[in-house]
C-alpha cells in the first residue's frame, strides 16, 4: 500500500501540479487527496485562479512621456553609432 499523502505533501507539490509538471503516479495521488480534503481543494483551486488572473493581466501601455524619452535616448544612441561607422 502506498503511504497516504498529507496536506503538507500536497502543498509541497502544488506548483508542479498546477504547472502540469508531475508524473502520472504522483499526479493521481494528489488528485485523490483533493477529492478527500476540501481545504486542499480550495487552496489548489484558488491558487490556480490566482495564476490565471495574473497571466491574463495586460501589460499597461507605457506613459507617453516615458516613451518619448526612451525614443529620444535611442535616437541619440543610433546617431552616435552611425557616426562611428
Amino acid at each position: 500500500m502506498t503511504p497516504l499523502l498529507t496536506c503538507k505533501d500536497f502543498l509541497h507539490e502544488l506548483s508542479d501540479y498546477l504547472d502540469e509538471n508531475l508524473d502520472a503516479e504522483l499526479r493521481a495521488k494528489l488528485e485523490k487527496h483533493i477529492t478527500e480534503c476540501p481545504n486542499c481543494w480550495v487552496i489548489a483551486d484558488t491558487t490556480r485562479k490566482t495564476i490565471k488572473i495574473y497571466k491574463g493581466m495586460e501589460a499597461y501601455s507605457i506613459p507617453t512621456d516615458v516613451e518619448s524619452r526612451l525614443m529620444k535616448a535611442l535616437e541619440r544612441k543610433m546617431a552616435a553609432a552611425h557616426d562611428k561607422v
Partner: protein
C-alpha cells in the same frame, strides 16, 4: 514603391534586420516589448524613476550588444535578462540593507500562509473594473518580499520558463520552484480578501 511596415513582421526577421543596422526594425522590437519591460522594472524596483532608467538602459544595452545576441533564446528572454540585471542593480544601490538580497536562505513554511481558506467564484476578477483589478493585482505583487516577487514576476507575469527564470536571476531551479510556490500561496491568500465567494465568510470577522 512601398516599404513593408515592420509591424506584424516575424521577430527573427526584425532581429536580423536590426543587426544589419535597420533602425526601424529595432524601433519595432522596442515598441513590442517596452510595456512589458517597463512593468517588470516597476515591479522589481517599485519606483517609477528607477523603472524608467531601467527601461532606457535595457534597450540601449540591447542595441549596443545586438551582435552578442545569438538567437538560441528568444529575443524577449534576452532583453528580460538585461532588464532584470539592471533592475536588481538599482535595487541594491537604493537599499543596501539585507532585505533585498536574493540569496538569503528562505523558509518555505507553506503551512504558515494558508490561514485563509475560502472558495472563490469562477471568474471573481469580473467583479472589478479593469483599473480596480490592476490596482489590486499590482498592490498584492508589490507587497511580496523581493526574492519572491522577482521570481513570481518572471514566471507568472512575464511567463518565462523555470529554467529561464533561474538563469535570469542566477538562482538554481529548486530555488526558483520553492520561491514561486511561496509567492503563489502568499498572493492567493492576499487576493482571497477580494475574490472570495460572497456569503462564505459568515464567521470570518467574528
Amino acid at each position: 514603391m512601398t516599404v513593408p511596415s515592420p509591424a506584424g513582421t516575424d521577430e527573427s526577421i526584425l532581429v536580423a534586420r536590426a543587426r544589419e543596422g535597420d533602425t526601424r526594425a529595432f524601433g519595432e522590437l522596442v515598441r513590442r516589448y517596452e510595456g512589458k519591460i517597463f512593468r517588470l522594472a516597476q515591479h522589481i524596483t517599485q519606483n517609477r524613476e528607477d523603472a524608467e532608467d531601467v527601461l532606457q538602459e535595457t534597450f540601449l544595452k540591447a542595441y549596443e550588444h545586438l551582435d552578442q545576441f545569438k538567437g538560441d533564446s528568444k529575443f524577449y528572454t534576452w532583453i528580460v535578462r538585461i532588464a532584470v540585471n539592471q533592475a536588481l542593480m538599482k535595487l541594491r544601490r537604493r537599499k543596501t540593507d539585507k532585505s533585498v538580497s536574493l540569496d538569503e536562505t528562505i523558509d518555505t513554511g507553506e503551512d504558515t500562509i494558508t490561514r485563509e481558506i475560502a472558495a472563490w467564484d469562477e471568474d471573481p476578477e469580473q467583479r472589478f473594473s479593469r483599473e480596480e483589478l490592476g490596482e489590486i493585482l499590482d498592490t498584492a505583487v508589490d507587497s511580496l518580499e523581493p526574492p519572491y516577487r522577482s521570481v513570481f514576476v518572471l514566471r507568472d507575469i512575464e511567463e518565462l520558463s523555470t529554467e529561464e527564470t533561474a538563469e535570469a536571476l542566477n538562482l538554481s531551479v529548486p530555488a526558483v520552484k520553492s520561491r514561486l510556490l511561496r509567492a503563489r500561496l502568499q498572493l492567493r491568500e492576499k487576493l482571497t480578501r477580494y475574490f472570495k465567494r460572497k456569503g462564505d465568510d459568515a464567521f470570518a470577522y467574528m
